[in-house]
Amino acid sequence: MKEAFAATVKFNVLEVYNLNSPIFTIENPQTGFFQEGETNKLFKKLAKKLYIPTLELFLNQEITLNIIVSGNFLEKAAALSPKLINLLKKLISQNLIVLAADGYYGEDYSSVYNSSWWSSSLVRTIDKIKEVLKIDTKFVYLPQLFRNLELERLLEQKKIKHFLLRQKGKKFSKLQSSLSELRRFNGKTVSWINSENDLNCHFNFIPDNLFFNINGNYLQPDLIQASKTFALAVAFNASEYEIKKDTKKLRTATKTLRINEKPVLNLFGHLEKATFRLWEYALRLVLNKYHLEVNEKVSELLDDCCRLQNSDFLMYLDKSNYFLGKNVDNFSSPFEAFVFMQSKVKQVEIIIRNGLV
């Protein structure tokens, strides 16, 4: 079994939202959340100017790294950019990358409090990887450590034992641990893991300086230039780590890892925190409905709701991103992004409360 590398790049589809005034949204709650056509256009543009040049550099320079992909990303790439798929296949065949599955719509905040959605979303991505790249997924990216149940489900269904996680700091570390050895944050064990369903897992903790989101370059004024800078920065950090790793001992995390059971929001600003609360509120409304009656429309709404909660949206709430002076396709200020999300959550509320699904 191949081991995970330290440097990691995350790929996901950047959505183009359906921007309407809050009043229009309230009056027309059944208007779609996304502009599919524009999203495809943007994907093509990013594939050409950002994704392909970056992967080509990795291939040419034989840079080894982990690549996290969402199912949606692979689906779009298969439909809109065969060159991108070929590049990924080449990188895999030359053993230059370890592929890890993300949620179907990428890193999704709803995963924090909707474990069943998240695990099914990961399974969708794993299936898509098999369909498009013809390989079995061995690694999965976790937005955070869970209280075991989701891991267990995945392990059962897809025989996944290897996980990538992001962590603060600059040290890459690994942990091999059984589920029963994981601890809640208060130090207590998770009581429902018994010897029968206890399993060994491998956790790879990727530090911030080795974790890259390629879509973060989207706000840069010159995409081609940004792709070069980005690819070189990844290549530099990845190579530097690979050169030094033999000279220093790999840090092994303590065996009894403590799990944060609530998202840690201290590092976020007011707009981000408010957006998380709005997301949580919307998702609760939809899940309530979902558990009462499962129909296609509710499932679609849940799907949209989770898709809205993508971590890529957070870059629109970061004021520093707008100092680059570029009017992006979606928003031109964090406040505009916030109002958009607030009105979308209102839209979800109206749909649920008025029985429109």
């Binding site: 809050p22 007011h270 707009l271 408010a274 928003f331 505009e336």
Partner: protein, 424 residues
């Protein structure tokens, strides 16, 4: 004075459909009523956007551009400001982008008060002077707010005999009561108002509150001031937005600026929500403080109780009045406030801070002291939980509004002009 028509030249930066706020609405109402009462009114604006059709106003833009290049000075005018300082505030929502379904709004995006507005006011004065030289038979020039002060000064300095009156819709004092750091532009305009308002032949103001401010803060002689209580030509809508529940919704409509008391309102809302978390406040409007206000809402975790709609069209505004149970006026100082009258016309009761000019017309309005969040929140909760009292309140307010006569109010302007002419 003979029976010939009174001829008025009205100078304004806004006039419906060209407007950024209440001034445009007021100017339109005043002009229409003056014309109805037989006066001949010529309205001069510094700029008319090309895509707006307006037949009854003249644009002085060409002349302004000429004088803007020449930069002539107005003798003895103590006004050295050329540009407003660029705001350091973070950019707010780009509403036209969010309103992209509404292509009409996209087209109507314009800025009536660009950064070089102070310099434009001087060029405007020379353009008006040209106009007066060509048409010397105006009985009076009426200038709306501080932007017309240089015009008044130029007219006086050049010895023109046409009298000049200010129509005060708001002062820099009102606009900055909630602002603890006055910038240079504010200080300069405030100083300008203090020095020159009293030099006009007379002043019209929109409420007794403004009259008192003009006397106490701007040293205007009381006998020069005529209060003309505002009114608004507003036909209420029939239906609200379909999916908003009226019961626990309260409403603020206005410019999101320091003058409107938004931070006071949000602090109050935090108290209200602690008691009843289902109460929702709609904040409708745009303004320079929108980003700061939004941050504050998020900081206080009120994002689910306070909804921002941005700038509303007339149709949307009429609808939203029908979607609330209570209208709020939290201003630290509001010269008049047209939205409460629109609200009452729409059947929506109003509560207000003590410092709002419209209280002269609707005295039964429950009031609270600005800064008293306890009292403000108590009144909100009281009316939302006492439907009968709320009903009584709107009935009283509607009755008072029905007694308010705009024609009588505008008649006061014509009387003042006649009196002035007789004394000349």
């Amino acid at each position: 004075m003979s029976n010939k028509k009174i001829k008025i030249l009205l100078l304004t930066w806004e006039m419906l459909p060209i407007y950024a706020g209440g001034l445009g609405v007021l100017a339109r109402s005043v002009v229409e009523e003056l014309r109805k009462q037989g006066a001949e009114v010529v309205v001069a604006l510094p700029h008319i956007p090309k895509f707006i059709k307006i037949d009854d106003c003249i644009s002085l833009e060409k002349a302004i551009q000429k004088y803007y290049k020449q930069k002539p000075t107005i003798p003895n005018l103590d006004f050295h400001l050329e540009f407003f300082k660029k705001s350091n505030r973070p950019a707010g929502p780009n509403w036209p982008k969010l309103f992209q379904q509404d292509t009409a709004l996209k087209k109507t995006s314009y800025n009536l008060y660009p950064n070089n507005t102070p310099a434009i006011t001087r060029s405007f004065a020379f353009a008006v002077l040209d106009c007066l030289k060509k048409n010397p038979d105006f009985d009076i020039v009426i200038g709306m707010d501080w932007e017309t002060i240089p015009t008044m000064k130029l007219m006086k300095e050049t010895g023109l005999k046409t009298p000049f009156a200010f129509y005060i819709n708001g002062t820099e004092y009102d606009r900055n009561l909630d602002n603890n750091k006055l910038d240079n532009a504010t200080k300069t305009i405030w100083g300008l108002e203090k020095k020159y308002y009293n030099q006009a032949d007379f002043l019209i103001c929109v409420s007794d509150l403004t009259k008192n401010i003009l006397i106490s803060k701007f040293d205007v002689e009381p006998e020069k001031i005529t209060t003309v209580f505002n009114d608004v030509d507003f036909k209420p809508g029939k239906k609200g937005l379909q999916f908003i529940s009226k019961n626990k919704t309260i409403l603020f409509i206005g410019r999101i600026s320091a003058q409107k008391g938004l931070f006071f309102l949000i602090d109050t809302m935090a108290k209200v929500v602690k008691i009843d978390s289902e109460i929702k406040l709609i904040i409708a409007g745009d303004g320079e403080l929108v980003s700061t206000v939004m941050e504050k809402v998020c900081e206080l975790e009120l994002e689910n109780n306070i909804i921002f709609t941005g700038w509303l069209s007339e149709t949307e505004k009429k609808k939203i009045y029908k979607n609330a149970s209570l209208f709020l006026m939290p201003s630290p100082s509001e010269p008049f406030g047209l939205t409460p009258l629109e609200s009452i016309s729409s059947g929506l009761a109003v509560i207000s801070s003590e410092n709002c000019g419209f209280l002269g017309v609707i005295p039964s309005t429950p009031t609270f002291k600005y800064y008293d969040t306890e009292d403000f929140s108590r009144i909100i909760l009281y009316y939302l939980n006492n439907r009968e009292k709320l009903q009584e309140l709107i009935q009283k307010q509607s009755l008072e509004l029905s007694k308010h006569s705009w024609s009588k109010e505008i008649g006061k302007i014509l009387t003042a002009i006649k009196k002035l002419k007789n004394n000349l």
